[in-house]
Symmetry: C2
Subunit: 184 residues, 2 copies
DNA sequence: CATTTATGTCAGCCATGTTGACATATTCGA
DNA sequence: TCGAATATGTCAACATGGCTGACATAAATG
């Protein structure tokens, strides 16, 4: 459980910047948060990007691999629903992931029209490697910011469109259940 | 200061999911945080996307407009450095923003090779409209998650690559100073 | 058996990133 | 003062990953 750099709230940024008066328009624009979100996300996806270059994969491959890893035997239609892309877009990257042996398809048992997707051992290894990089970033950020993991979860959750939150929670819960079930 | 929905920690997601044993590999992958970050960012940039459609602009236009708005009279080279794209990529969207009257260029006073960029009134209005949308999302998220704004700032800041943090802080501070100086 | 569903695929377009090469104007240092 | 360095623009070509529209196939379903 040893962590890279446990020191709460060292060298924090600005944040005493807003509220000079009573604007009629409402709230002061939160430029600081907006820009921090932009840079944070860029670095968050940057880690995996470097690894993916090894296989000539891009971010699209990462997303597909990740969600197939998290939802073994997922139907194509459900994957499209998570990613919010078209099947033509999915087809391109999925084909490459299958050709290179990271993902495999099997015919559905109950409904033989379905092509259920799952990661191979190779795919699992890569998905885990990428998840670990991002996990380390979160662990660092939580430790160094003096936040709790729970606060971070609640904050990010509340950044999601209210009407989609339930779906997201359900999806994550279900994936956790499925994965724990498998690994036992 | 009245907010949309002030209720701390209502309907929070899971988060009691990790730590089943002592893996030799280290930490449990933080799937929940990883996926929440993905969905949060998608919605975060989704708000502006809809508005930008009105002008046939994309996210690239948004980024350029935003940072030019925040850094009046910015040099092209400095803008490229913030965005981390090539000048050829910038040129395309910048041309459209200039043609449609959102941004204008002026020759540098001290160095006449420079083409200093600034938003027009029209550009400022659009930049503010977009920033306001994202500000509202943050205000909602902070109120509903029971976090403080300061915690959110520190957390996002700590998500950035350590070696880039100083630059980001400096950039934000400087932009705040420049904008406040102008509005007085 | 006709229709609906799940998936695949072809073709082409668009947005936004890239590299490489080269042009122009201006500044700056020897 | 002149040659090199700098700031910017531009042309051409390419890659990635979105999109729409059209159509094909196999299987399920009423």
């Amino acid at each position: 459980m040893a962590d890279i750099n446990v020191s709460p709230a060292q060298r924090r940024p600005l944040s005493g910047t807003a509220a000079s008066g009573t604007e009629p328009a409402g709230r002061e624009p939160a430029y600081e948060l907006i820009e921090l979100m932009f840079f944070a996300y860029r670095d968050f996806v940057g880690d995996p990007d470097h690894v993916l270059e090894r296989y000539q994969f891009g971010r699209a491959h990462h997303r597909v691999l990740h969600f197939v890893f998290r939802h073994p035997e997922i139907r194509v239609a459900d994957l499209l629903d998570i990613l919010k892309i078209t099947k033509q877009s999915l087809a391109r990257v999925l084909k490459e992931l299958i050709d290179q042996g990271f993902i495999l398809q099997k015919e559905g048992q109950v409904d033989r029209r379905q092509r259920l997707l799952a990661v191979t051992d190779k795919g699992k290894a890569l998905a885990l490697e990428l998840a670990k990089l991002q996990t380390e970033r979160f662990a660092r950020a939580i430790a160094q910011s003096g936040t709790t993991r729970d606060q971070a979860v609640r904050f990010l959750y509340a950044m999601i469109d209210p009407e989609r939150r339930e779906d997201v929670t359900r999806m994550i819960t279900q994936a956790d259940r499925a994965l724990r079930g498998k690994e036992r």
